[in-house]
């Protein structure tokens, strides 16, 4: 049995519930009243699918998915010894087990970091000179230097980080949380995906898929160019009352069809029509940044691309706008926002390209943390920043590269940080060895990370499950330990 099912699958249990339980019980009347009561019942229909197992610390999550594998020893994990050993071979004991995508390992040499690190904040966190803005937030952040995973390549690595499985077809973390908690937003999707993509995402829609969960738990991908959401205006000839009545009867008819065919997927369509209707009034306000103060816009740097002629892609502004949009979304109750930035896959030209990435991301990410804090949202909003793996302490001597200027994929140790939503800031968790090859203290696997995130949202990861093809699935499969240290 493959967990991968490209088909939408109905679910008899939820179907029965759907037709017998109160709020969403047999169709037409409930829906009609819902729309007439201006969504009194709508909030219920979208939330409260499961009660959390215990009191949650976090309500929302903003996940910065830094596609490609950011280089930890150039950003978060200083390795003076590595600098010292620059140009030396890897110890034979390590070399033997080593596996690389591109490096010619027999001739590979350790590569020091040209970055300068300084201590910041009360906690004295070391950060690279590439992160001047983030360095002002360290006391709110828990840095993890001991992440590891078992996937060597981008696609399975990303799927593992996003879904807990290296295979396609599994629900992403954002889908699980929306499945578990529903959304607090009546008017906007509970799960939104914002992208600033250089080379694209290898997993495509699998990166925000609901997998085998009903598909209304999938992420709603906002457009990265121009207007984030199209078609928000009702055609001229359809009055607001007609639009309302239309959605009502569309869903009445969809409900009848669901009854006839038994397919749960239709329920997802119904919810999407309700949501679309509300988005028509809510989304224009969401994406209109004109109400933001000049100070806020400047803090995020939303017009940096216009001022920096070297930014031909416009990514500085696009990412800043996405960060601001993320705050506006959680403010309005969206449960989960993923911001993709690609790519951090610097096999070569690391110095320059890493600096390009931090030029895009450092300022708005820090601005977002401060903004959330000032608005009192940080306590309930978990912010996660990381990629699918890290990069090698070895220079990538890929044959043919004239000089060694990059690092290869490295699943054995990497860094990631979290803030807000119940995370104890101002601490560093875990330690890597002196050259940053392996984890020597507090190893945290991706499954542990997922277990911890679910814990922050009030769930025991072992008991947030979904029955599919006769089996109860969970995001941590059969693994996962909550990392208590992160919560202080």
């Amino acid at each position: 049995m493959s967990p991968e099912s490209p088909l939408f699958s109905p679910h008899p249990r939820s179907r029965r519930e759907f037709f017998t339980s109160g709020a969403s019980g047999l169709g037409a009347l409930a829906l009609a009243s819902m729309l007439r009561d201006d969504g009194l019942l709508a909030a219920e229909s979208q939330t409260g699918f499961k009660a959390p197992h215990f009191a949650p610390k976090a309500k929302n999550c903003i996940y910065f998915f830094m596609e490609g594998g950011p280089s930890q020893m150039d950003l978060f994990d200083p390795k003076p010894k590595l600098n010292e050993l620059d140009g030396q071979p890897l110890p034979p004991s390590v070399l033997e087990k080593a596996q690389f995508a591109f490096i010619k390992k027999e001739e590979a040499r350790l590569m020091g970091s040209p970055r300068t690190f300084k201590k910041y904040g009360q906690c004295g966190m070391d950060l690279s000179d590439l992160l001047p803005h983030l360095s002002t937030c360290v006391d709110d952040i828990a840095f993890v230097r001991s992440m590891y995973c078992d996937q060597f390549n981008h696609l399975p690595g990303q799927l593992l980080m996003l879904t807990g499985s290296p295979l396609r077809g599994w629900p992403t973390l954002g889908s699980w949380l929306n499945y578990g908690l529903g959304s607090d937003s009546r008017d906007l999707p509970g799960y939104v995906v914002l992208t600033t993509l250089g080379r694209g995402l290898p997993g495509g829609a699998a990166s925000w898929s609901s997998g085998f969960l009903p598909s209304n738990y999938g992420g709603a991908l906002f457009r990265s160019q121009g207007s984030p959401v199209l078609n928000l205006e009702t055609p001229d000839r359809i009055s607001p009352a007609m639009q309302r009545r239309s959605i009502e009867v569309i869903n009445d008819l969809n409900r009848i069809r669901q009854e006839r065919t038994g397919h749960e997927e239709i329920a997802a369509r119904i919810r999407n029509y309700e949501l679309a209707f509300r988005m028509q009034s809510a989304a224009p306000e969401l994406i209109d940044l004109s109400g933001e103060s000049k100070a806020t816009l400047e803090a995020y740097g939303v017009d940096r691309s216009e001022r920096d002629s070297s930014d031909k892609t416009g990514f500085q502004s696009s990412f800043a706008r996405n960060c601001l949009l993320a705050r506006r979304l959680v403010e309005r109750g969206t449960r989960f926002v993923t911001l993709f930035l690609s790519t951090w896959d610097q096999h070569s030209n690391l110095d320059k390209e890493l600096a390009t990435n931090t030029r895009i991301s450092d300022q708005p990410v820090a601005a977002l943390l401060k903004d959330l804090k000032e608005r009192g949202l940080l306590d309930e909003t978990l912010v996660v920043w990381g990629g699918e793996f890290g990069r090698t302490p070895l220079g990538e001597n890929r044959p043919g590269f004239k000089t060694v200027t990059g690092r290869d994929h490295h699943p054995h140790s990497f860094s990631l940080w979290m803030a807000g939503g119940g995370i104890q800031g101002g601490q560093v968790i875990g330690q890597t060895d002196e050259v940053g090859w392996g984890v020597v203290e507090d190893p945290i696997h991706v499954h542990d990370l997922h277990a911890t995130i679910l814990h922050l949202f009030g769930f025991d990861h072992k008991h947030l499950t979904y029955r599919f093809q006769g089996r109860d699935f969970r995001i941590t499969d059969v693994h996962g330990e909550v990392v208590k240290k992160l919560m202080g």
């Binding site: 160019q225 959401v229 078609n231 928000l232 639009q243 008819l253 009848i256 038994g262 997802a268 679309a276």
Partner: protein, 872 residues
């Protein structure tokens, strides 16, 4: 958007994972289990598994559902109400036992014969071919002729070109002996790869990326293997050695792009016809002009006689040393001292010409001649100015003298009007105007006369060809006669040289209205010469000289040469037989190797692709990965049987599809009963049909078909339906000229696929981004899809058209119209509850008082139903 360039090299090792790859099922030759007589082969295998599991499959779908399923799967269009009626009648005749098998068979045959079948299945193929109408990357230049490959695919599928030939033409069509035009177009499969034309790109790196993509596309499409990918790494148990990858790579390492002319169907004939007509018309006009010559001479003599005594011209032409335009126009100085300004770009602001001349001794007047046509034939179209109808407006003229010391002093003209001089009529002849100075100025040797001509109304009003002269007197008159004409006229007619005679007659012609009119007519005709057939194709050509060497790229880097390899195939698969004893194997051999009876993959992969489009999911759920990391087949024996049957059927796509859709498994209901025989989410054993949303293009086609707007035109240039401006304004080359007339309503597969600006409603419904071969589309749901169907102007237009057609039947009861709406959109009758719901909504819509609006809104409801965009 998933622009996912193949950044790496080409190590394919993750492919087979650990274990002994040669034991992997997909590398074993398919085994054909014989099917007992009288059993449908598909049902034989599927029922056996169901029976083993003790699962009772569902009964057949009702006739309406089955008809719609067949129509959507085979043609991508909904059944017409007439088809529905006929189909249901036959079912009734069958006394409730479902539609008669004969009726189903007829319907299947009819659908397979429909030209729309080819469009539907071509679109599936184009996903694999990563077809697009532009290059991708930053430049994303349009590919004007890419669509000819698309049309070839449609035509080949329509003709049911056997799959082996269909494939060989695409892999090696250019190499085939006596390659037909169609074969060369087919080889355009390789041209669908992304192309990076950015300045400063490493050309060899860009080329190797293309080769990798070509290998990848071929491997995905025909072998179901991801040979080259971005996330590859060494594996300890590699059954495929790196050199084996580069052996396959070697087949594709020497393809050069070629865009030969190849007239479109009928284009040559059309050209020849119109050329003949044009030649005839031209000859007639030439004859008319020749006829005029005699009376023209008479008129010229009369004109000459009327001129009387001509005084000698007081003007001396000033030959410019320098001519510059403030608008950056190209200023060409002719032998005769004339200056020709050629606009670089349009400039709405003041355009200034600055001219410098070696100083004449005395200047009393300046003359400017606006030189129109010299009248000698083809230049009748040349005008004095660059404005409308050849007009010009000179705003001001100023003169300065620059001394040898560089100091400037101004000369004053007596006429200081602004605008100073304009010519708006008779712009094809010469005009001249004298501009006297207030007082004559003496200039010293070595000084420079600087004239500044300002055209304040911008570049659309400047002088085009003009000449400057000077006279000593401040009262010098500028006549309309050019100096050289005066000089020639002063010679007695019988003493004139041929050149002098021509100078006079050419000038006269420019004045003679009758002649000019005819001359102009001929010029316009000459300009209308039909263009030669423009049709081109995109294909490839095997490089014969200066071939790229075939060697292992060590660690995937082309700059690092490893061992030299010859074209070949992985040892884990059957050996390749080269046709020629010498010179090694070529792409034809590779293509034949794919269709060798010993090839365990090609047929399985092909039938799996077809199966996937008829059941929503393949027998192997990972159609792009038949390796050990991919999904195992749910029905291995059926997969093998179909694979061997496809070959036995002569690789007839239509025959294989006919076989599958005539099975009970295909025709089963997809509705889940209250008591499903097994967990309803688990349909691995196919106890029911699957129910799933249609593809992006079909979402649009369904709207167009149901509303009656659909254009059923097949093939041709891609179209551009309307698109909001802010969608296109982000790309670099953003022109999106919206198609007119029926082209707005062509099927989705004809929408121009611009890689950096994919059509938003297609992307909203998971159309692939065309960057790499796509063997399986995502099927997502989102509120954005609802917004698209509700509010996108293109979809609303469909609702309006449908609403309007219902409004035209005012005498018919609403219930009947609701039934019609259901028939047209969903291919079935409404249930009473559905009719009630829609009638009540329609009544509410009607409260606004506008029947057409009410029916539009009602139609829009049905076009937004889940069922409408679902194949059940």
């Amino acid at each position: 958007m998933r622009l996912f360039p193949l950044i790496c090299s080409v190590l394919l090792f993750s492919l087979f994972g650990p274990g002994k790859a040669s034991d992997h099922w997909a590398f074993q030759t398919p085994v054909r289990v014989e099917v007992p007589e009288g059993k449908h082969p598909v049902d034989f295998f599927i029922d056996a598994r169901l029976s083993d599991a003790g699962i009772e499959p569902l009964p057949p779908a009702d006739p309406a559902t089955l008809l719609r399923r067949l129509s959507l799967d085979l043609t991508g269009l909904p059944p017409t109400p007439a088809e529905l009626a006929a189909f249901e009648t036959s079912a009734i005749r069958n006394r409730g036992a479902g539609p008669a098998q004969s009726a189903i068979r007829n319907q299947i045959d009819m659908l397979l014969d429909s030209p729309h079948f080819a469009e539907r299945w071509a679109r599936h193929w184009l996903d694999l071919a990563r077809y697009a109408d532009s290059d991708g990357y930053l430049g994303d230049t349009e590919r004007a002729w890419a669509w000819r490959y698309r049309d070839w695919v449609i035509d080949a599928i329509d003709r049911d070109l056997p799959y082996d030939q269909f494939s060989i033409s695409q892999i090696a069509g250019d190499l085939l002996p006596d390659a037909s035009e169609a074969d060369r177009i087919a080889a355009g499969f390789h041209r669908n790869a992304l192309l990076n034309t950015e300045a400063g790109v490493d050309k060899e790196l860009a080329r190797t990326k293309q080769v990798v993509d070509r290998v990848n596309a071929v491997a995905t499409t025909w072998l179901g293997l991801t040979l080259a990918c971005a996330e590859c790494h060494n594996h300890k148990h590699d059954p495929l050695k790196q050199d084996e990858f580069f052996k396959v790579y070697a087949f594709f390492n020497n393809l050069d792009d070629e865009d030969p002319s190849l007239p479109l169907p009928g284009e040559t004939e059309r050209y020849q016809t119109s050329l003949a007509a044009w030649e005839k018309e031209t000859a007639a006009l030439e004859a008319k002009l020749a006829e005029e010559a005699e009376s023209l001479t008479k008129r010229q003599e009369k004109w000459e006689a009327g001129l009387g005594e001509l005084p000698a011209s007081p003007w001396a032409v000033l030959h410019p040393a320098k001519a510059e335009s403030g608008a950056g126009d190209t200023m060409t100085i002719g032998m005769d001292g004339g200056i020709l300004a050629k606009a670089k770009k349009t400039d709405p602001d003041t355009v200034t010409y600055t001219l410098e001349f070696p100083a004449p001794e005395v200047v009393g007047s300046i003359r400017i001649e606006a030189l129109g046509s010299p009248g000698d034939g083809r230049e009748a179209g040349v005008t004095a100015g660059r404005g409308k109808e050849g007009s010009f407006v000179l705003s001001t003229l100023s003169a300065q003298v620059r001394g040898a010391d560089g100091k400037l002093r101004s000369l004053a003209f007596s006429d200081t009007r602004d605008p100073l001089w304009k010519v708006e009529t008779e712009t094809r002849r010469r005009h001249a105007q004298s501009f006297p100075l207030k007082e004559a100025a003496s200039l010293a040797k070595g000084e420079t006369l600087v004239l500044t001509l300002r055209h304040k109304a911008g570049s659309a009003t400047t002088l085009r060809r003009f000449r400057v002269s000077a006279a000593v007197e401040t009262g010098a008159v500028a006549t309309d006669l050019p100096d050289e004409v005066i000089a020639a006229l002063q010679i007695a007619p019988d003493k004139r040289t041929t050149t002098q005679r021509e100078v006079i007659s050419n000038h006269y012609r420019s004045l003679d209205g009758v002649w000019m009119a005819k001359r102009l007519e001929l010029d316009h005709q000459l300009a209308k010469i039909p263009s030669k057939p423009a049709g081109k194709i995109q294909t490839v050509k095997e490089r014969s000289a200066e071939r790229h060497d075939d060697y292992v790229h060590v660690r995937g880097d082309y700059m690092r040469r490893g061992e030299v390899v010859a074209p070949g195939v992985p040892a884990v698969l059957h050996p390749l037989k080269a046709r020629r004893a010498e010179g090694g194997a070529d792409r034809i051999d590779f293509a034949h190797w794919l269709f060798d009876e010993a090839n365990p993959l090609t047929a399985r992969v092909a039938v799996n692709q077809i199966w996937q489009h008829l059941f929503g999911v393949g027998l192997v759920a990972t159609p792009d990965d038949f390796g050990t990391e991919g999904a195992a087949p749910t029905h291995p024996e059926l997969l093998d049987w179909l694979a061997s049957e496809y070959r036995r059927l002569g690789w007839s796509r239509k025959a294989l599809i006919r076989l599958i859709v005539s099975s009970q498994a295909y025709q089963r209901s997809s509705a889940i009963p209250d008591q499903p025989p097994v967990d309803a989410t688990d349909n691995t054993l196919l106890w029911r049909q699957n129910r799933y949303r249609v593809e992006a293009e079909t979402v649009r086609d369904l709207h167009l078909a149901a509303s009656g707007l659909l254009s059923r035109k097949i093939g041709g240039k891609p179209v551009r339906p309307p698109l909001p401006g802010f969608v296109t304004e982000v790309g670099r080359s953003v022109a999106w000229p919206v198609s007119e007339g029926e082209d707005r309503y062509r099927r989705g597969l004809y929408i121009f696929l611009k890689r950096t600006i994919m059509y938003p409603s297609l992307i909203a419904f998971d159309a692939p981004d065309t960057s790499v071969a796509c063997s399986r589309r995502d099927r997502t749901q989102s509120p954005m899809q609802a917004l698209t169907l509700l509010n996108d102007p293109v979809f609303f237009e469909c609702a309006e058209a449908l609403g309007k057609s219902l409004t035209k039947q005012p005498d018919i009861a609403p219930d009947t119209l609701i039934d019609e709406l259901f028939h047209r959109c969903l291919g079935r009758d409404p249930e009473p509850a559905e009719r009630d719901a829609l009638r009540s909504a329609h009544a509410d819509f009607l409260a606004a008082g506008d029947p057409e609006r009410a029916w539009t809104a009602t139609a829009r409801v049905v076009l937004n139903l889940d069922e409408f965009i679902t194949r059940e």
